[in-house]
Every structure is written in C-alpha cells, then in structure tokens.
Symmetry: C2
Subunit: 205 residues, 2 copies
DNA sequence: ATCAGTTTTGACCAACTGGTCAAATACCTC
DNA sequence: GAGGTATTTGACCAGTTGGTCAAAACTGAT
C-alpha cells in the first residue's frame, strides 16, 4: 500500500481555520502548508488546486459537525428546544473562539460563500450544499413545531430559509463588529422570526 | 486651479460595482482603472492605495443613498410602513441588478466587511460606520413603532441590530444562491422579528 | 527482505500584483 | 496669453502567487 499520512487531514483543518480567520484570497497555499507542517509538493499530491482544497475542507467540516447536529435535532427533542439549543451552540462556539483568538470568527460558509460564489463554481456549489443541509435541520424542526401548534403552519419552507439567513447574518455581523451581544440574544429573535415568540417558554411534556 | 476631472468619481463607482460583483481581492487596481477609463498613474494621484479607494467608495456610496433613505424613514411616515418600504426597496434593487447582470449582487457592506474586517482596519471601521447608519434608521422606526404600541417596547436597540443582521443575512443568502425568493418575503420576516407579525396590516391613520 | 505504491521534498517558474515616478499635458485664473 | 496647478501618461519594479516536477524516501503487504 505504501506509506500512510495525516497530512491531508492536517491540510483540511488548516484550510478551514485560516480561511475563516481572514479570507480565501488572503490565505496562501504556502501559509496553509506551513500551518499544517506540509511541504507544497505534498499539498498538490493530495489536492489538485487551492479551490479543490477549499471544497474538500467544507465537506470535511460539514461531515464532522453532523453527529452533533443529529443529536441536537433529534426528533425525540421538542422542536423549539432544538432551535434553542442550536442557538446556544452558536453562541458558545463563537464565544469560545473569541476567547481563544480574540476575534469572533463568524461562519466559514458565509465568508467563503460571499467571497467566492461569483468566481468559483465548485466552491459555490459546495457552500450551497452545506447551507442546504443546515436548512433541512431547521425545516424539520419548524415543521414539527407547526404540527404541535407551536408556530403557524404556513410557509414552513420559507421560514427555514429565513431563519438560516438570520443566523448567518447575525454571525457575520458579529464577525464584522467583533461583538457577540447580538449572538447572545439569537434564540429570542429566532423564535420571533418563525412566529413562536409570544408563546410561553414551555419545555413540552 | 489647473484642470478638473471626473476620474475620481468614475473610479469610486467602478470600485463599488466591481467589488460587489466579485470581491476585494479579486478586483485588481488595473481592472478598476480599465473599467473607469483611467490610467494607473492617475489612480494613485487620487487615492493613496487600493484600501483607500475602498474606504472612499463605501463612504461615497453611503452618502449617495442618504436622501432616499431619509425620505423612506421620514418621521412623517408610519413607522412600520418605513420598514415595509425599505424591504421593498431591497427587493426591487436586487431584482433590477439581477435582471441586468444575471446575478443577485447582495450588499457590498457585508461582502467587503466579511472579507476585509480582519485584514484592513480602515475598511473595517468604514463598514461599521455605514452599518451603524443603517441601524439608526431601523432603530428610530422601531422606537416610533413601540411608542405607538405596534411592537413591544423592550430591547429596541437590540431589535434594530437583529433586524439589520436579518436583512444582510437574507441578502447574502440571495447572493450565494442567486435566488431572490427569500428577499421577496423579507418584510414579513422583518415584522415578525421585531414582534409586529401578528398585528393587522394597518396603514395607520 | 523486497518491491510496488504512497508520500515527501525543495528547487523552480511564469504570471500577476500593488505601487512608483518623472515627464508631459491640459485647464482654470488672472 | 501667461503661469501655476491639477491631471495624465506609460514605462517600470520588486514581491508574491498558485502551480510543477522529477527524484528521493518511506511504508505496508507479501
């Protein structure tokens, strides 16, 4: 089989980290290699291009998050609680990152997506895929909530998209202002947005 | 006085247009110059750097929008109507741009802001300034609405920030997906978000 | 131990980038 | 129309970038 290596994985992680920190264009292949402890020749052994790396990094990152999201959005959890927990996770993740680096990172899907959607069709498609996955979690929760009469039954698909846009918008605003205060209140806005705002905070039986 | 020129203005407009189309890093100074019909030497006569151009372009763009926003957010207009009209303006602008270029442009504040906030303090500050101006329009409308009992009176400042984040998130999502459907429904989400969702659509007396 | 296949290395390159500069030129003011 | 200023020009540059390549080194399976 020949030798094995963790270089590929290290490159994927370095890519997500560095590209979230600044931007796709700013992060050079050399910088990613250095951060991953990999020589450039090796880089092009594992990836056909910088763009290819970005696509693979988004995919890997999404797959890695999957188990946790599956748990949070389990159908056994009361639907509005899923959304509450998800919001809380957002805040915790961003707060943790800020504590570590001094900066609110925001969401790589939106950062990369905004920057690259006009230039690189592969990155664009992958970002869309990853966003669609998130929308599915939210859509399912909203539909289940509607079934229980917790939110209006109309337009659940649109509500899922709007809610995702709201999340990403808040995260991006937090990145730009380096201020988490709006993220902290995320769940209240989220529940308002889908029409569950003025209900009592029942934990469901 | 020496000769006069429109080169500066042309450069500012080209910068906003091209940077919105793709990204800060992708747009080269040469490209901006070509698009504006200006030689590079002239560019550096008017601007000290590419970054300087971006800052000035954001400022100019914001000032240009001011009169229209002042009209929309006039205190003589019923507060929720201000927000409705603003949402409609968003949709119309994006739809118009898409019809012309084939692409939903999104908002340069968010595009540039996300991309550059970690690399260029001047761009970052200018983006923050411009976003703050928009938040003021929204904040004032929300406060006036609260005064009239149209929305809950709590946390109006936070609501303005959240609403702006929602707008920008929806616009950015529309850019990434090149799909205006979520923008079309913007006003309903907006009113829900600030807690005016389940009120009748009164045009106010 | 061997060998095929995987991974690593580092030197190399052409293209492009933001930015410079000194000289030429046009324009407004008087 | 003279003169000073604002503008224009285009050639130039040094640094950086993504990407290449052929040879070397390592590893697991047999």
């Amino acid at each position: 089989m020949g030798r094995t290596s963790t270089a590929r994985k290290r490159l994927l992680e370095a890519a997500i980290e560095l590209m979230t920190e600044t931007s796709y264009a700013t992060v050079t292949v050399d910088a990613i290699c250095e951060h991953a402890g990999v020589k450039k020749g090796s880089f092009y052994h594992f990836f056909s291009s910088k763009s290819d790396l970005a696509v693979c990094a988004l995919e890997a990152d999404t797959q890695e998050r999957r188990p946790r999201l599956d748990a949070i959005f389990s159908p056994t959890v009361p639907p509005l609680d899923r959304i509450r927990t998800y919001c809380q996770l957002f805040y915790e993740k961003q707060a943790e990152a800020k504590a570590k680096s001094g900066h609110v990172p925001g969401c790589p899907l939106f950062s990369l997506g905004t920057e690259m959607c006009r230039q690189d069709p592969h990155i664009r498609r992958k970002v869309q895929e990853c966003l669609d996955i998130r929308a599915k979690y939210l859509g399912s929760a909203i539909r289940d909530a509607a079934e229980e009469g917790l939110v209006p039954k109309s337009d659940t698909e649109m509500k899922a998209k709007s809610l995702l846009a709201y999340f990403e918008g808040v995260l991006t605003q937090a990145r730009i202002h380096n201020d988490l205060s709006v993220v902290k209140e995320l769940q209240y806005g989220a529940l308002e947005l889908i029409g569950a705002g003025r209900l009592p905070e029942q934990k469901a039986a």
